[in-house]
Amino acid sequence: MIPELGHFALILALAMALVLAIMPMIGSLSNTPSWVALARPLAWGQFTFLLIAFACLVNAFLVNDFSVTYVAQHGNTRLPNIYKISAVWGAHEGSLLLWAFILSGWTLAVALFARQLPDVMIGRVLAVMGMISIGFLSFMLFTSNPFARTFPVPLEGGDLNPLLQDFGLAIHPPMLYMGYVGLSVAFSFAIAALVGGKLDISWARWSRPWTTVAWVFLTIGITLGSWWAYYELGWGGWWFWDPVENASFMPWLAATALIHSLAVTEKRGAFKRWTVLLSLLAFSLSLLGTFLVRSGVLTSVHSFAADPARGLFILIFLCIVIGGSLVLYAWRAPNVTSGGEFSALSRESLLLGNNLLLIMITAFILLGTLAPLIYDAFGWGKISVGFPWFNTMFVIFTPFLVLLMGLGPLTRWKQQDAADLVRQFRIALLASLGAGLLAALPLLHEGSVYAGLAVMLSVWLTTTLLLSLRKRLRHRQGFGAFLKDIRARGGGSYYGMLLAHFGVAVFTIGVTFVTLFDVEKDVRMAPGETLELAGYTFRFDGVEKIQGPNYRADRGTLHVSRHGQDVAVLKPEKRTYLVQTRPMTEAGIDAGFFRDIYVSLGEALDAGSWSLRLYYKPLVRWIWLGGILIAIGGLLAAFDRRYRLAVRRDVAATAAPPGDALATEGPA
């Protein structure tokens, strides 16, 4: 009965979405306020019904209702409760439901928290989100109903993929979807603005905090995914340039470009058309990612079961949403006035450079991701693009990106005197060159050049950020201003920017060092045998059999010591899950701020000896630390008080130049 309730709730949610997509939009065009006013209650309704549907599916998993096909395939009585819940989004149908649910959540959030916006604008934004919702709900109802029944009812379920039975992956998809779907808000704002034909700076200001929040979720989602891959796939990699990873990274890059471009549009009124296009692009790339993951045109480590019929549905949906929005863009964009002149050296031009770099990286990742498909489609052979290529892309572009990131905050809007800029950053230049050389010298071997470069870039970024902070505080009466900022919770977007950029510096160091200096060794070890790796001594104490809740495992024990001092006892496992009977490697990790020691169990050889893989990974945690800093920075920026104040001010008296001193430290 409850699954039918869920199914019915889905149908009602679709009905709500249909009305939401049509009535407020028509109302806004025909000046019928009563129709526009429907948007908010409909957003409520849609959310409520999807909440019910979602709760029904969670319930089906918790009570082991194997008459529901989806539960029969992915649930199991012996699954721990937390994974019964995460099993809801462990496969195609349920993750779609999660997607639709989150979309309705964002829709409701816009309805609730954007009270200061004009009703017409809100009506249009919600209507566009309703259109997107129609696509996902009908996709679910027509091709992938999570509530479909099965008969005869199996006694036991097929169990959740063991790789997904993990805390990191339980929360990774919701975070990622929050990001993906959150970009639909920026998309909807852009479409609403295009429909209204009014692309002014208040549109950019409305869109900004929403975009930033979505971007924060995307950042967290990607960071979690990378962390999960690191400890759960068992082979110590933290990023594989897998199509599914690329599918999440491309929207992130586009969204990063977007939040910077939105800043320019809001502050200076420039880049309007470009910003709109980026808003469309960022969400389009999210949808494209969905298509790639679910259609089976590309294979990857974690794609869902391929189904061409589903692929076709998403492709048609993709064409309607992206194609439609680009037609609207081609029609409306020529009439947008360009504003905000700027000279060749100005913060605008640097941000333009940053945008170009980010979009180029996105384009190349897209090329690398689709290349196997392109070659196959033209019958040029079966290829794959090696991860060295993707890495090369980063080595080529990132230094320029970081260089600009350092200059940007020191540069004035509109026009910057070159000599003045050089005077400002010369300390940073000296410091970074010095640090880079220092880092490169003692390591005179392969890779030292890159290590030096990475240190140089990070020091450059950090010192320029400090210089920018000093300049800002000096203009505002010193350190007292900092305390005042904190007390008034103001300047969030400025401090957020500092923190996020600093996160990039940390990330760069982490990536470079773990890539260059990690030590990896495949060994065969007999019980009692010891081995040296990177200054650590590993003693293998054999393997024992253990029994988990829904798996059996061989668990090895390794004592790690350094200079005779015990460091850690690692217990890597080789698990065999009872239902899906597949082996899984569970690594033994000793985590540390400066290094990780990582051991995974290979296979049993003769006489109690095993093959093992040992790793020493310097600074690997800095990668995710960087990600966390970037996300926190984004949050600070998104919740800057001035958005709330400014939106109110906009509504009172529209479109005065921002004149906002908080985020721009430069003197007028």
């Binding site: 079961a305 002149e341 031009s349 450079g353 090329l367 090696g386 090369t392 320029f400």
Partner: protein, 151 residues
């Protein structure tokens, strides 16, 4: 030229130059990192280049997995049901590596047609047959069916 105009031209030239250089580098690196896929019968027919990074794939032949005394170097044969080649790999095989299942190996072909793998991939999905392998097997099977009819 007015200063404004000059500014704009400088900006555009800078941007175009930067984009051009970047695209050039990227495409060059792209060509160097393309890995073509070959099936065992293509390798036997001499179509696969020796010494270049390529990928081969097929079913692991039953009973072909042999471990060297050091315990880490493994030799096994892969087949597309037409021809069979030998692959050598040092290291830990993936969890899902099995005789009879489809795998993909990335590495280089030696002179004696021994394939030295740097990496062996089996998918993290029990339903998985690497699509290249599936296609290759289908192609060789169709070819086999064709000759069968002709005889």
């Amino acid at each position: 030229m007015t200063p404004k105009r000059r500014n704009r031209v400088i900006l555009i030239v800078l941007v175009l130059a930067g984009v051009g250089v970047a695209v050039g580098f990227a495409l060059k690196a792209f060509n160097e990192n393309l890995m073509f896929f070959y099936q065992p019968s293509q390798v036997i027919a001499g179509e696969a280049p020796a010494g270049r990074l390529i990928r081969v794939g097929g079913l692991v032949t039953n009973g072909s997995v042999e471990r060297q005394p050091d315990g880490l170097t493994v030799q096994f044969a892969i087949t597309d049901n037409v021809d069979t080649i030998t692959v050598q790999y040092t290291g830990i095989l993936p969890d899902l590596f099995r005789e009879g299942q489809g795998i993909i190996a990335r590495g280089r072909l030696g002179d004696d047609r021994l394939f030295i793998a740097e990496e062996v991939l089996a998918k993290h999905d029990e339903n998985y047959m690497p699509p290249e392998v599936a296609d290759a097997l289908k192609a060789s099977q169709e070819a086999g069916a064709g000759t069968g009819n002709a005889q």
